[in-house]
């Protein structure tokens, strides 16, 4: 079943994030990922995530496709101008990639190439529009293109951002432009997520809640303090602080969150820093 079919089937969709290697040794990550075959609906491949240089997400998507996965090509506006974005979108299509997640991208000063020039020729709303335009047979210059590329387009939102109203305005523009599914920033506080969904008031929108299993108290503190718009409730911080086995506790917490969001949204998106065994414990 492809991601699109899974989204349309009404089943609880599971996607997992995988980061390509910093270098060319793809085998360890690919063979690790194999245990997820048949257990997840799609794999997101990050695009120089957190502005850290990695192997091309486009290339890694193709490798995952060859293993039998349905990859989601994460495409940011940070590293490519409008020509490069369009040619990579078309390139993804001929390589068999059918899902794209459109993002703005983290700023280079957040990553390992701090002096790199950020592009941001387009923003994420305009990137969704661009994909849709190419599907209609036209490029951004208004010229006809040949072939019939077709994608399932996704976008992101941070349900914990304060205030949430400007985020919702932007999310609605992404959906209006053609985004069919939404993957969220990590959620630890389900109450905040509930409030967000209530305010968004788009019950038919396919939203996949972001899940990031905590491994230690330090990680929980980092998430709570350093990641904008992510708050870890006091109760979870306490549990991580006093847990005998923090990793097990993190899995338990993540499972509870998954159970809580199940009735609220279309699925989950698991981010576990390539730790597939941890992912297996959650699904």
């Amino acid at each position: 079943m492809t991601l699109k079919e899974a989204l349309n089937s009404g089943k609880f969709v599971i996607t997992v994030e995988i980061c390509p290697p910093k270098g060319t040794e793809v085998e360890p990550i690919l063979s690790d990922a194999e245990v997820l075959l048949g257990k997840v609906d799609a794999i997101n491949v990050t695009d120089n995530q957190r502005a850290m240089m990695r192997l091309s997400g486009l290339a890694f998507c193709r490798l995952l496709l060859e293993k039998g996965f349905d990859p989601i090509f994460q495409l940011t506006c940070r590293d490519r101008n409008s020509l490069a974005l369009q040619s990579d979108i078309l390139g993804a299509y001929v390589l068999g990639i059918r899902n794209i997640l459109a993002l703005s991208g983290d700023y280079p000063s957040k990553g390992d190439h701090k002096s790199a020039r950020p592009v941001f020729d387009l923003d994420s709303v305009q990137l969704v529009e661009t994909i849709k335009k190419l599907e209609k047979g036209e490029n951004l210059a208004g010229e006809k293109i040949n072939g019939h590329p077709k994608f399932t387009v996704g976008a992101v939102v941070n349900p914990g951002a304060v205030p949430i109203e400007p985020q919702i305005i932007k999310l609605k523009k992404k959906v209006e432009a053609g985004a069919e599914f939404i993957q969220t920033q990590v959620i630890y506080d389900v109450e905040i997520f509930k409030k967000f969904l209530h305010q968004l008031n788009m019950p038919k929108l396919k939203i996949l809640a972001g899940i990031f299993p905590l491994k230690s108290f330090k990680m929980a503190q980092f998430m709570n303090e350093k990641v904008p718009g992510v708050s870890v409730p006091e109760s979870i911080l306490k549990r991580m602080e006093f847990a005998q086995n923090p990793e097990e506790e993190g899995v338990k917490i993540a499972k509870e969150i998954i159970e809580e969001v199940k009735p609220l949204c279309a699925g989950i998106h698991i981010m576990a820093l390539n730790d597939v065994n941890l992912v297996l414990k959650l699904i």
Binding site: C77, R78, S82, S104, G105, D106, Y107, S109, K110, P118, F120, D121, L122, D123, S124, V125, Q126, E129, L140, V156, V157, N158, A161, V162, P163, E165, P166, Q167, I169, K170, K172, K173, E176, A177, Q185, P228, G229
Partner: protein, 215 residues
């Protein structure tokens, strides 16, 4: 106003290596307002140059080093003699002023300032970037707050996911431009402007170098 800051004196000296007889020019406009190239700063740098063993043949705060018409008048006052005997000209102005003088002088022209941005003066010593001169103003759509200049990602359709508590993800001491735009438009009852999708920016308007020739 063009906001500038003075280079480290050691760097300026290095640029002046081999030049003994120097002419120093300041700027009565932006660099004076900025406190980087006015009477006070020109006098201070002349003193430092002399202490470093340089001979300052002439020093003057020009009316506007970026304006050929005003330079013609000011240069007459300086006299062509000093230009013939000097080894270099040190200019305390933005890059436009430095280049205008470099174009009309045979001498090596050395910048003493770094040009930073087009900004607003809140108080002396408090300057904020406001405009990147994109050639395609969108301020009527964004509550008078420019996302091209003031959002680090130059986003045109709303904040990124890192905007939190009104602050920017890139620099948490910085207000998020889109938070400010949202608040302003909300207050004005014009959030529909933010709800409208904005097309990509037309970067053909910034093919460099730009010029305006109306006559």
């Amino acid at each position: 106003m063009i906001i500038t800051e003075q280079k480290q004196f050691e760097k300026i000296l290095k640029s002046l290596e081999g030049a003994e007889k120097i002419i120093v020019f300041g700027c009565s406009r932006c660099a004076t307002s900025c406190g980087t190239g006015g009477e006070k700063e020109v006098a201070a740098i002349v003193k430092k140059l002399e202490k470093a063993g340089k001979e300052v043949l002439a020093s003057k705060v020009l009316e506007a080093p970026c304006d050929d018409r005003l330079n013609r008048i000011d240069f007459k006052e300086v006299g062509s003699g000093v230009f013939k005997t000097a080894d270099a000209v040190l200019v305390l102005s933005c890059g436009a002023g430095v280049q205008t003088i470099a174009d009309i002088s045979e001498l090596p022209v050395i910048p003493a300032l770094d040009s930073l941005f087009l900004g607003r003066t809140k108080r002396i010593g408090k300057f904020y970037e406001m405009c990147v001169m994109c050639g395609d103003c969108v301020l009527e759509k964004t509550g008078g707050i420019c996302p091209v200049a003031r959002c680090s990602k130059r986003l045109l359709n709303g904040p990124c996911g890192g905007s939190h508590d009104g602050k920017c993800e890139v620099n948490p001491n910085q207000d998020c431009a889109w938070y400010m735009i949202y608040k302003k438009l909300e207050k004005q009852g014009k959030l529909d402007k933010m709800e409208t999708r904005q097309p990509p920016k037309d970067y053909s308007k910034v093919i460099r170098p730009r010029k305006v020739e109306t006559r």
